[in-house]
């Protein structure tokens, strides 16, 4: 009896944490190193320890400056730069799925420690720089009483907003600071359970279609297969009628969409699955092919089967497309924006990705805005840190970047939902 007790105690302590002393594998680009799957008794975890910015600011490359242009917001997530230079900020936090198993209660509490305690604004705030001096002194609430607004897109005189349960639109005239009327619903969006509640949005170049990124309703189908109908996909919505159809599927959580200027190709950043180890599965940036299937839930990075899914589907696994560019495991990309030459020669051709940061790793990853260079219309090389310092050397996290937007006048707008701030990065012009 005593021996089995000692054995149990030894096994418990050995299995409790998945520890790894090997260096992290290279996980960016088209061919990331994928280690073996790990599963211990507890997932590797490191939750952000929030602290205020005080006098500090995030770090930017030489030749660039960063300033906070708005503070005391209520969970800003995505932004949109309007043609006249005004910035629209979508504020809100959605989700709130009921507790179905003991883990939900515990996990919710633990992950919540790395986020802001402020209640989501459920509104759009408009920021205006009246005299072009870089200070956004004008601030107005464009629309409120929305339902966790996230994706934003302007098509002509219509402003589209993707709430967590519906795609709606407002009329917009140049210079408007308040919505002229209530939102008009274009189409309902899947919102039952809403484990992944964000609805990302992008408009086609001709304005005919809107693309909505809908995340899965679980990590890996633990809420049942039935809950995953119309989830983990990008919808193509007719802007006029609201009719919709799946455009691409198998994308676990496409949290930001952007249309490539010139080529018109739709790109997405996708958050891949958790609890397979600190270095699985890399989140990625990919072009979204019409009719394409990208693997979730059955496989990852092409044909790597996830054994946690039952029943399996070998046909879908065989058809799964390998994404274009890995960003790293658990970096949590939530923002995507194509750059423009106004950002300077070094950062003119490529995309900016806002990485919210990891929980499923002992050694945190993400917590920065990176720049992925493009060449010939495709991502190439290694990502370059563009805005960092959100997680300081003291281990405290002062901010977490979410959405990124490029102001064509030559600035990068970064939403930070931990310190509830909007940051603006500009180039020193000599």
């Amino acid at each position: 009896m005593r021996r089995s007790n000692l054995l149990a105690a030894a096994a418990l302590s050995a299995l409790l944490t998945a520890c790894g002393t090997d260096p992290d594998p290279v996980q960016h680009g088209h061919d990331p190193e994928l280690p073996d799957r790990q599963s211990g008794l507890l997932p590797s975890m490191n939750i952000a320890d929030p602290a205020a910015w005080g006098d500090q600011r995030p770090t930017v490359p030489q030749g660039y400056a960063i300033a906070a242009i708005a503070t005391n917001l209520r969970i800003p997530r995505q932004t949109l730069v309007l043609p006249n230079g005004d910035i629209l900020v979508a504020e809100g936090m959605g989700g709130g799925a009921p507790i179905l198993r003991p883990k939900d209660a515990i996990a919710g509490y633990i992950k919540g420690k790395g986020t802001s305690p402020v209640k989501g604004g459920d509104r759009l705030t408009l920021l205006r720089d009246g005299n072009g001096d870089g200070t956004y002194e004008g601030r107005a609430v464009f629309a409120e009483n929305l339902n966790a607004p996230y994706g934003l897109a302007l098509v002509g005189d219509r402003l589209y907003v993707a709430n967590q349960d519906a795609l709606v639109r407002f009329d917009y005239r140049d210079g408007q600071i308040r919505a002229s009327g209530p939102a008009v619903e274009v189409t309902k969006l899947p919102s039952a359970i809403n484990h992944h509640w964000t609805k990302s949005l992008a408009a086609s170049p001709d304005g005919r279609f809107l693309y909505v990124g809908i995340g899965s309703n679980s990590n890996i189908t633990e809420n049942g297969m039935a809950a995953e109908g119309d989830r983990a996909m990008v919808w193509q919505v007719d802007a006029e009628t609201g009719a919709h159809k799946p455009y691409a599927t198998g994308l676990r959580n496409p949290t930001a969409l952007a249309v490539q200027p010139g080529l018109g190709q739709l790109w997405a950043v996708v958050n891949e699955r958790d609890e397979l180890g600190p270095n699985l599965v890399p989140d990625y940036l990919t072009s979204v092919r019409q009719g394409g299937f990208y693997g979730w839930p059955f496989s990852y990075w092409g044909q790597n089967v996830d054994p946690r899914v039952r029943p399996q589907d070998p046909q879908k696994v065989a058809a799964a497309i390998r994404p274009d560019y890995a960003l790293g495991s658990h970096v949590a990309p939530l923002g995507l924006a194509f750059s423009s030459p106004a950002m300077g020669a070094r950062f003119g051709d490529g995309v900016f990705v806002g990485e919210h940061g990891s929980w499923n790793r002992n050694d945190p990853s993400g917590y920065k805005v990176v720049f992925v260079p493009f060449r010939g219309g495709r991502p190439t090389g290694a990502p370059v840190d563009f805005v960092s310092g959100f997680m300081g050397a003291d281990g405290k996290t002062r901010g977490r970047p979410v959405g990124v937007t490029v102001d064509p006048r030559g600035a990068l707008i970064v939403a930070d939902d931990l310190s509830n701030t909007i940051w603006r990065v500009t180039r020193y012009v000599r």
């Binding site: 149990a8 418990l12 599963s39 179905l100 198993r101 003991p102 609890e275 946690r308």
Partner: protein, 142 residues
């Protein structure tokens, strides 16, 4: 009066202790049956049932373990039965706790360890209850 004193010394369980100990058995048993249903149907709701039943079983048997441990520390307890009973219950609880963590893995990630442990823990829970109650047999002298 002498008879009842003897009974107390022969491992009679306090009614609440008895309820805590025996009450964990149907919970662990239910968890095992739910896991068997999950393994054959892939319906994840069965696994949710198992997860909650395991938590319930750990709660009840945890208190029973505490009670048993306190009894063990009291000077008037003698003999091998209380110690054996405590250790068996401790093993049940430890394996049950590991089982709870394994059930926290998503979807089929808890298989096959989850089912195996559920069966083991259910058997151990019955054994621990049996052992603890077996001290009540009249004439048993341990």
């Amino acid at each position: 009066m002498a008879v009842s004193d003897n009974q107390r010394h022969r491992g009679a369980l306090h009614p609440i202790h008895a309820v805590l100990l025996a009450g964990a058995v149907p919970l662990f048993l239910g968890a095992m049956l739910s896991d068997i249903a999950y393994s054959s149907s892939y319906q994840v709701q069965w696994k949710n049932f198992a997860s909650w039943l395991i938590v319930g079983g750990l709660a009840l048997s945890g208190f029973a373990l505490l009670w048993s441990g306190i009894d063990l520390l009291r000077a008037d307890r003698r003999g091998k039965l209380p110690l054996a009973s405590f250790l068996l219950l401790l093993t049940t609880w430890a394996l049950g706790f590991i089982n709870a963590l394994i059930h926290a893995r998503d979807a089929w990630g808890s298989m096959p360890e989850g089912l195996v442990l559920s069966i083991i823990v259910a058997v151990l829970a019955v054994a621990a209850t049996w052992l603890a109650f077996s001290g009540l047999r009249p004439g048993a002298d341990k």
